[in-house]
C-alpha cells in the first residue's frame, strides 16, 4: 500500500513482533515509548475482548524506533484518533479490511479534547468531586484547561485520565 508502511515483505522478524490484522485499525509511527499511552488515551484496555497487539521500539525508516498499535475488529474514527496528536503527532492511521489497508490518514490536532486529560492544577474545580468532565482547548504548543485556564505544554502524557 505505501512505502512507509513498515511491513516489508521478507522482514519476518517484524511479522513476529506485530502480526498483521485481518480487520481493524493499525496506528503506526507512534513515537517510541508512547504505545501504552495511545491505548490509555483511546480507552482501550482489552476489557471489551478486542484483540490488541503492541509493538514497541520497532526499527523504523522514518524514526530510529517507533511503536505500533493494532486493534483487531475496530475501525477508529478520525475524531477518536485525533486526540492522539497530543502524544503521537506523527502517527498514521491505517484502517484495514480483509488484510488490505482501505484507508490511511494522519492524526489532526483537534480544537478541543474532552474527558481525556485531567487538570494538573490542584486548585481547579475539576479536580474535586464535582460532576464535571475535563475539557482542554488545544493550543499550538500545548493544551489549556477549559475551567481554570492552566496551560500545559510539557508532560501531557502524564495527564491522561486512566
Amino acid at each position: 500500500m505505501s512505502d512507509d508502511h513498515d511491513h516489508h515483505d521478507g522482514h519476518d522478524d517484524h511479522e513476529l513482533r506485530v502480526s498483521k490484522i485481518r480487520s481493524g485499525t493499525v496506528i503506526d509511527h507512534v513515537r517510541g515509548g508512547q504505545a501504552l499511552n495511545v491505548l490509555a488515551i483511546l480507552g482501550i484496555d482489552g476489557s471489551d475482548g478486542e484483540e490488541v497487539s503492541v509493538g514497541m521500539n520497532v526499527p523504523s525508516d522514518r524514526f530510529a524506533r517507533k511503536d505500533i498499535v493494532k486493534v483487531e475488529g475496530r475501525e477508529l474514527s478520525q475524531d477518536e484518533v485525533d486526540v492522539l496528536s497530543l502524544i503521537a503527532p506523527d502517527a498514521t492511521i491505517n484502517i484495514v479490511r480483509d488484510y488490505d489497508v482501505i484507508e490511511k490518514h494522519r492524526v489532526e490536532r483537534p480544537d478541543l479534547v474532552e474527558e481525556v486529560l485531567s487538570c494538573p492544577n490542584t486548585g481547579c474545580i475539576t479536580t474535586g468531586d464535582e460532576p464535571v468532565s475535563s475539557r482542554f482547548e488545544v493550543l499550538d504548543d500545548g493544551v489549556r484547561c477549559g475551567y481554570c485556564e492552566t496551560i500545559v505544554r510539557d508532560g501531557i502524557p502524564s495527564l491522561i485520565d486512566t
Binding site: 478541543l112 474545580i125 468531586d129 464535582e130 460532576p131 475539557r135 489549556r144 477549559g146 481554570c148 485556564e149
Partner: protein
C-alpha cells in the same frame, strides 16, 4: 446589549462552552476575557447613567432576588453586591455561614447552584477553586456573576477599575503602570486582559519573583494587537509617562523571611516624594485594602482615586445586575 455580554467573538473559553454545552446561556459574567469593547462600554455607559441619577432605577428590579453564594469570606464584595441590588429595589438572600450549610455536609457546588437558582433571579458566586464560576454557569439558567474564583477571575472588580480609569483618564491612548504582586494578583490579570480592547500601553512593574505569569503574558500577546506590553523592575524610569498608576499589595507570605519582604516590598511603595516626577494628571488606583503601598499623605492629593474606585463598585454592579436581569427576563419572554 442583547446576549452580547458574554460575547464569544474573542473569548476562547466561552467558545468552548458554546460548542460543547448547549444549555449554557450567554448571560453570565465569568471572566473579563469574555468582554468585548462594546460589552465593556455598554456596562460603563449604564453605570454612568445610574451614577448620575440613581433614583431613576430605585424600583427597577423591585421583585427580583439576588442569591449571594460566598464560599469564602469577602465582606466588601458581598456588601457591595448587596447594596447594588437593594438600590435597584431588589432583595438579597445568602446561604448563611458555610459551617451550618449543606456545603459542610459535602454537597457539590453543582448541586448548590442548581438548588439555589430556584430561589433567586440571579446568582453571585465567590468560590476558592479556579474555574468554579465557569462550571457553575453550565448548571444554571439564571444569570451567574463571578465574584472571584480562587486565583482565577474577578470581572466585576475589573469593570469598576475600567470605570474609574475611564472617568479619570479615558480608556484610549492610555499609558498605565501596574505595580506590585503581578504573579498572584488576579485583579491585575483581569484588568490587563480587558485593557487589550483599547489602545493602551501597559507597563508592569514588579520584583522579578512576582512578575506576570508567562501564561498571562502569552494571552495578552495573543489578544493584544492594540496593546503594548512592557515589564520593568522599577517605577522610576516610566513614572513620568503614566496616566494611571495601579498599585497592588505585595503580601508578606510571598517571601521566605521578613527582611527580604521589607527590602523588596519597600521598593514598590509610593509616597509624595516618589510622585515628584509624575504628571500632574496622574491617577493613582488601588483595589484596597492597602497596607503601606500608598502613603496616607497621597490621599489628599488629586492623584488619589482609590476611594472613588471602591465607591464605583456600586454603580458598576448596579449596571451589571440591571443589564443581566433585563437580558434574562427578555430572553425568557422571547422563548
Amino acid at each position: 446589549m442583547s446576549h452580547s455580554l458574554s460575547a464569544t467573538q474573542n473569548g476562547e473559553i466561552q467558545g468552548l462552552g458554546k460548542s460543547q454545552h448547549e444549555r449554557m446561556r450567554h448571560d453570565h459574567l465569568i471572566t473579563s476575557k469574555q468582554l468585548s469593547r462594546a460589552d465593556i462600554e455598554t456596562v460603563l455607559d449604564r453605570a454612568a447613567e445610574i451614577d448620575a441619577d440613581p433614583s431613576a432605577v430605585a424600583d427597577r428590579h423591585a421583585n427580583s432576588v439576588l442569591g449571594l453564594l460566598f464560599f469564602e469570606p469577602s465582606t466588601r464584595t458581598k456588601m457591595s453586591f448587596e447594596t447594588a441590588m437593594k438600590r435597584l429595589g431588589g432583595s438579597v438572600i445568602d446561604m448563611g455561614s458555610i459551617e451550618s450549610s449543606s456545603v459542610k455536609k459535602g454537597e457539590t457546588l453543582a448541586d448548590t447552584v442548581r438548588v439555589t437558582e430556584g430561589y433567586a433571579d440571579a446568582l453571585v458566586l465567590r468560590h476558592p477553586k479556579q474555574g468554579s464560576a465557569t462550571m457553575a454557569s453550565e448548571f444554571v439558567d439564571v444569570p451567574l456573576l463571578n465574584a472571584g474564583d480562587g486565583a482565577g477571575h474577578h470581572p466585576t472588580q475589573t469593570l469598576l477599575d475600567l470605570y474609574t480609569i475611564r472617568e479619570n483618564a479615558g480608556l484610549d491612548d492610555l499609558t498605565i503602570g501596574i505595580m506590585g504582586d503581578l504573579k498572584y494578583g488576579r485583579t491585575v490579570h483581569s484588568l490587563s486582559y480587558a485593557l487589550t480592547n483599547f489602545d493602551t500601553r501597559q507597563h508592569f512593574i514588579s520584583p522579578e519573583s512576582l512578575q506576570l505569569p508567562r501564561d498571562v503574558v502569552y494571552d495578552l500577546h495573543q489578544q493584544g494587537e492594540r496593546t503594548q506590553i512592557r515589564e520593568h523592575d522599577s517605577l522610576e524610569e516610566i513614572l513620568p509617562s503614566l496616566d494611571v498608576l495601579y498599585v497592588t499589595r505585595i503580601q508578606r507570605e510571598r517571601f521566605p523571611d521578613e527582611n527580604e519582604y521589607q527590602k523588596i516590598a519597600g521598593e514598590y511603595q509610593i509616597d509624595l516624594e516618589t510622585l515628584e516626577d509624575a504628571r500632574d494628571e496622574l491617577t493613582v488606583m488601588h483595589p484596597l485594602p492597602r497596607v503601606d503601598e500608598i502613603a496616607p499623605e497621597i490621599d489628599d492629593t488629586d492623584h488619589a482615586a482609590y476611594f472613588e474606585q471602591a465607591h464605583n463598585g456600586i454603580p458598576v454592579r448596579m449596571a451589571l445586575l440591571d443589564l443581566l436581569l433585563e437580558n434574562h427576563t427578555r430572553g425568557d419572554t422571547d422563548e
